[in-house]
């Protein structure tokens, strides 16, 4: 080699140093890197899942905990389930709760996303603040709202009273009456989780090409038809995905409802996750029966996911 060449000896030396053995050949590396995660999934997800299904066919109580045993009872737990009015009630409550909360979340979330898509002073700050409830510990959220809901000195009652909507004597004990407790749970769930919809929809809004609107405007479309024909059409797919995934999430949400009302009063907010908890982890400790409920919930989840994956595939094809 001419000008730049190192002396031959150097070249040889560096070459030898450079030829290191590859410890793991490339074709195996992919598997090796995935292996630890796969082990975690296997031990902490798949195995417990199968174990849960096994449990649902057994009678397992607190005495069986240490041994890991339990007596086989066939479909008894499922039969118990089907005959249990509480289960059907909880299924209904869960469905209602998920349906209402998801609908409200999507409506409010989309509206707020559209608002935050406008330009105004302090937009970055407002965008940040709106996400706050979502990132806040659920326990802190619940405690604040319990203070706000307080019948005697809660701010909500005071505001309603100041607006002339209720009289002072009628102060509402929000979380102690079935209807208002359900509404109270829905409101908190809406407050805590609607920012998620805002984030996703806002992200989608930002990638709608601006010239679509300009073209529509030149074609004489008004504000409303621009919204329906462009905005809504563009975000439709994202809304469908959100609706599916949020339904799964809200349907299985334990924390908000449990911490706020423990499923009460008079079972007005008894959802399936709370029934699982009460059956298996509190009081009776009937792990088999609790697992049977969980397996049914898992079945519902898989059905929804199937719809989701089918939707994704359809989208991919387009």
């Amino acid at each position: 080699m001419t000008v730049e060449a190192a002396s031959p000896q150097e070249t040889v030396a560096t070459r030898v140093a450079g030829i290191g053995r590859t410890l793991i050949p490339d074709r195996w590396l992919g598997l090796v890197l995935l292996a630890p995660s796969a082990v975690v999934f296997l031990l902490l997800l798949i195995y417990p899942l199968l174990y849960g299904i096994w449990t649902s066919f057994h009678s397992v109580d607190i005495l069986d905990l240490a041994s890991g045993g339990g007596s086989f009872v066939g479909f008894d737990n499922y039969l118990w389930l089907l005959q249990n009015a509480q289960f059907w009630h909880a299924l209904k409550t869960s469905t209602l709760y998920a349906g209402i909360v998801v609908t409200l979340q999507i409506v409010l979330g989309t509206a707020v996303a559209l608002l935050l898509h406008q330009s105004f002073k302090g937009r970055a700050f407002v965008r940040g603040l709106v996400l706050f409830p979502y990132m806040m510990p659920v326990v802190a959220v619940i405690l604040v709202w319990m203070l706000l809901y307080n019948a005697l000195f809660g701010a909500i009652n005071y505001i309603l009273f100041s607006l002339g909507l209720i009289s002072r004597i009628d102060a509402i004990a929000w979380l102690s009456q079935p209807d208002s407790a359900f509404a109270g749970v829905v409101l908190v769930s809406l407050w805590k989780y609607f920012p998620f919809v805002v984030v996703i929809v806002l992200a989608r809004l930002q990638v709608i090409p601006q010239d679509l609107y300009e073209a529509a405007r030149i074609d004489g479309a008004g504000a409303w038809s621009r919204f329906v024909d462009i905005t809504l059409r563009e975000i439709k797919d994202v809304l469908i995905v959100i609706a599916l995934l949020r339904t799964i999430f809200m349907f299985n949400n334990f924390e908000v409802v449990f911490l706020l009302t423990h499923g009460g009063p008079m079972q007005a907010t008894l959802t399936l996750p709370i029934l699982v908890y009460e059956t298996a982890l509190d009081g009776d400790r009937a792990f088999g029966r609790g697992s049977a409920i969980a397996v049914v919930m898992f079945g519902l989840l898989m059905m929804t996911m199937m719809v989701y994956f089918r939707f994704l595939r359809r989208e991919d094809r387009q």
């Binding site: 997800l45 417990p48 510990p137 000195f153 407050w191 998620f196 984030v199 799964i248």
Partner: protein, 279 residues
């Protein structure tokens, strides 16, 4: 004239809606902060004391004197760090494999990761209790951290897969031609590029663990080992008239999130949007 009038009308409407939004979102936050600084007598006053004239720190002092708040806080820190660090370490390697290397059935694996991430805690909690009891991980902070891996790991893998895929392949190939092995290329070139994304993903995984209640309440029962969420719920129901104290605890529990938030806000869309289907 009419055009500019209409525009300022629309502007006015926008600001009105923004104010309503701020009230709806901000009032509970404002109330939490204010109540934590009010005397107990002011908290129960009607009409309410909107802003305490002389804010007090007595609730914060009491929190550390009367309750074990400091300990719970440290417990939370420990458990969440443990699960986050393991999730990020394992998850980034796994995600790299999924995004770059030839692995049979990669698509199926990717889909399973999403499914795992979607998986609600309430469906896992019973078998986890049964299994953990048998192998002695009940009432253990390591056990709780492991349980958090069930959502933290799929989350990290799902989000990092997209992040890593966005690092140009050319860079790695250049490094490998320059004499790096595949893993060295990952360390020297890919990870520095993905570093901001990794940090953001880690912060999200940490926050999800920090905010989690069900596993924390069920898997760790002992007072000394408990993390913040169940401990706070317990003492709030035990002292449900001490609202100042409870609000001070809530404010402090929210603090790490508020700080972290400042760092990750610009990654929020990727962190939640791309992979975020739960939480």
């Amino acid at each position: 004239m009419t055009r500019s009038f209409r525009r300022s009308l629309a502007q006015g409407r926008t600001y009105l809606l923004v104010i309503l939004l701020l009230l709806f979102v901000g009032f509970p936050l404002f109330w939490m902060l204010m109540s934590s600084g009010k005397l107990n007598s002011d908290i129960v006053r009607i009409p309410p004391v909107w802003i305490p004239f002389l804010p007090t720190l007595e609730h914060y002092e009491e929190l550390f004197e009367v309750t074990q708040f400091g300990r719970w806080f440290l417990n939370s820190l420990l458990v969440c760090s443990l699960s986050t660090i393991s999730a990020v370490t394992l998850g980034v390697l796994g995600a790299y494999s999924l995004s770059r290397l030839k692995v049979r059935g990669k698509e199926l694996l990717g889909r399973s990761v999403l499914l795992a991430y979607m998986f609600p805690g309430v469906l896992l909690v019973i078998p986890l209790v049964l299994v953990f009891t048998r192998i002695g991980l009940m009432n253990s902070q390591v056990g709780l951290a492991l349980a958090y891996l069930t959502f933290a790991l799929p989350f990290v893998m799902w989000v990092m897969r997209d992040f890593l895929a966005s690092v140009p392949v050319d860079l790695e190939e250049a490094a490998m031609i320059d004499g790096a092995s595949r893993l060295e290329a990952l360390r020297d070139v890919v990870l520095p590029q993905a570093f901001p994304g990794i940090i953001a993903t880690g912060i999200f995984a940490f926050l999800f663990a920090w905010n989690e209640y069900l596993f924390a309440a069920v898997l760790v029962r002992s007072h000394d080992l408990q993390t913040l969420p169940p401990a706070m719920a317990n003492f709030a129901s035990a002292m449900d008239t001490r609202w100042g104290l409870i609000m001070a605890a809530s404010t402090l529990a929210t603090l790490p999130m508020a700080i972290a938030f400042a760092f990750v806000q610009k990654y929020l869309i990727t962190g939640l949007g791309a992979g975020g289907v739960k939480g």
